[in-house]
Amino acid sequence: MKESFRRSMAWLHTWAGLTFCWILYFMFVTGTLGYFDTEIDHWMEAESPAPQTTQSASVEQNLSAAVGWLSREAEGADSWFIALPDDRNEPHLRTFWRAPPPEEEGEERKTGNDRLDSITGEPLAEAARDTGGGQALYRMHYALHYIDGGAAFRFIGIVALFMFIGLVTGVVIHRKIFADMFTFRGAAPAKRAWLDAHNLLSVASLPFQLMITYSGLLFTVTTWMPAIALGSYGFNIERAAEALRVVADVQVERTGEPAELAPLMPIVADAASQWGGEDAIRGLDVRMPGDAAARVSVSRKAGIGVIAEQRVYDGVTGQYLETLDPTSRAPIAAASVMLGLHEGLYAGALLRWFYFISGLLGAGMVATGAIYWSAKRRRKSVADADHSRGFRFVEAMNIGTILGLPIAIAAYFWSNRLLPLGLEGRPDWEMHCLFITWGLCLLYPLTRPRLAAWRELAWLGAGAFAALPVINAATTEVHLINSLRAGDWVLASFDLTALAFGLIFALTAKKIGGRADSAERLSPAPQPTEATAA
């Protein structure tokens, strides 16, 4: 019984992992790049000055700059949000606003999102180089591209569930999880070596993979599992909404009676005195500014977590009303920390690199799993012509995705430097370049023998990444020598990382080259069945 349980779990592990393996790989790679999203932004907006934290301005200066801007630009808006400048993640003062819902259906609701100079209150100059930046790359790991974001998000939830099932069954079918950490037989027959690589990558980074997958799932919990909360209130949506208000947002109805907005500084000062200083404040959310019903809520920085405590004030009198703290409930606090761990916004430079490496290990886990699957079936498909067509497709997808996606991302960076600066829809074209390149990389393996396709695409990847610093030097002033001289480690690290990836691809290509030669020399005769040789 125990054996058959293990066997069925092994089957589930194989298919849960394989069904969406290329999308999982895509999610791992693009999501991992997200840990350096603002750094990639900086490289891609080459002409913009390095983001300088405007923390030198006082909170009061920031507030008056933001309110001045919003009063001019967003009068009569339903909500203003002011994010105070903080660190890497929010280097500038930023304001968002949202107009009332449009009266005619089909019209788009007006919104604004601006980065402001903390002292002058004027919006910062737009980047000279119009680009999707690291944000567009990172957003794809949950919103994909070319399809509706909401549908993509639902789909991504399913894919993440498959990943989670893959992880849990992977642990179940391991008998000696500790021993496997130290087992790597690189010189062993290919498929055994792929299995060892798969085990090594997965087991070594298992805590990270479990965390990142379950927290990823938690992002979709309100999308996929709302029925639990609703059902607990007998599916009475109004009652549920009322009860869940505490963990949701401040909701205010407009009265239509104009009233001047209370000065914000005393409100912020009060919140700061409760939370031990102005540093603890993340931002302000003003609902119905200029209306008698106005509310101001001040949100607190949440440490690792993403769900924050808020103090709510009357927006006309400035009087303190209530504190909304969803994280006072243990499971919400736990979820908040999980989501925060997923985003890693709290992480400093060193931890950020660990995140990056762990994410790449995750991508490697998916990739080695997929390669192992096909390595194990290769001989069978040689004997069976029908089998071989589907198998060929899987092999081509493996090669075209595992190597093709990184090459496509390099193409995205190339296009950032090479597309004409005045091109209409430039960020869109950067993305098109990525997907066109990926598409070509998917087709290429169909035209070449397997190992040749691996080797040649690996060389292409080596060239594509190693050339990035060169193209950068040819097209901008922010090349490696200048960035090193200026001590701009963010820019320099981008170029150096590109070189490192070029080197890794070159070593991979060389390694495959050696394997291809020995395989050709040996040219084995086909064998009747898998089982006798396995």
Binding site: E3, A10, L12, T14, I228, S232, A243, P331, I332, A525
Partner: protein, 161 residues
């Protein structure tokens, strides 16, 4: 682990040869030429994985469970996971939100919601580990009835109170 994956073919309708004694697999008579030979002779270097492989190649575990193979069994289980499995996840969550002791209602709801994917995963693992399809479907429908009725009862009691 490797051999688990090999043996996992029971569900994909692949012809598998009759069980063979372990020795015959691991050490075929006479040398085999070329790379395939290297694969057929795992050799003296292997330890841990060979243990695993040997344990698995035990004749008993090699017996094919033909009754469980076939596309229909897979499709049926996938449907069971998608529809009744998902519904049971939700009804179990709702029931949990009433039953978790010692906390207020919102905390209980949040706990059940945060755990929902753990519950769903456990249900899916169960669906794919049970031998008979009838057990899968009866089990799921039974669980749906019990957790659904339980949730309704708890909700009615709460509303009356």
């Amino acid at each position: 682990m490797r051999s688990c994956l090999n043996n996992a073919q029971w569900c994909v309708n692949v012809a598998v040869p009759p069980p063979q004694p372990i020795r015959a697999i691991a050490r075929p008579d006479g040398p085999t030429p070329g790379a395939r030979g290297a694969q057929a002779n795992p050799g003296a270097n292997y330890s841990v994985h060979d243990d695993l492989t040997a344990a698995f190649r035990d004749g008993k575990t090699m017996v094919k469970k033909t009754s469980r193979s076939g596309r229909w069994h897979v499709a049926s289980r996938v449907i069971a996971a998608l529809i009744p499995g998902f519904l049971v996840t939700n009804t179990t969550g709702i029931l949990l939100s009433f039953l978790i002791p010692g906390v207020d209602k919102l905390t209980a709801i949040a706990t059940a919601t945060v755990l929902s994917y753990v519950i769903y995963t456990a249900i899916i693992l169960w669906i794919f580990s049970v031998e008979r399809l009838r057990t899968v479907w009866l089990g799921l429908l039974g669980a749906l009835a019990v957790t659904g009725a339980g949730s309704w009862l708890m909700y009615t009691l709460e509303a009356a109170a």
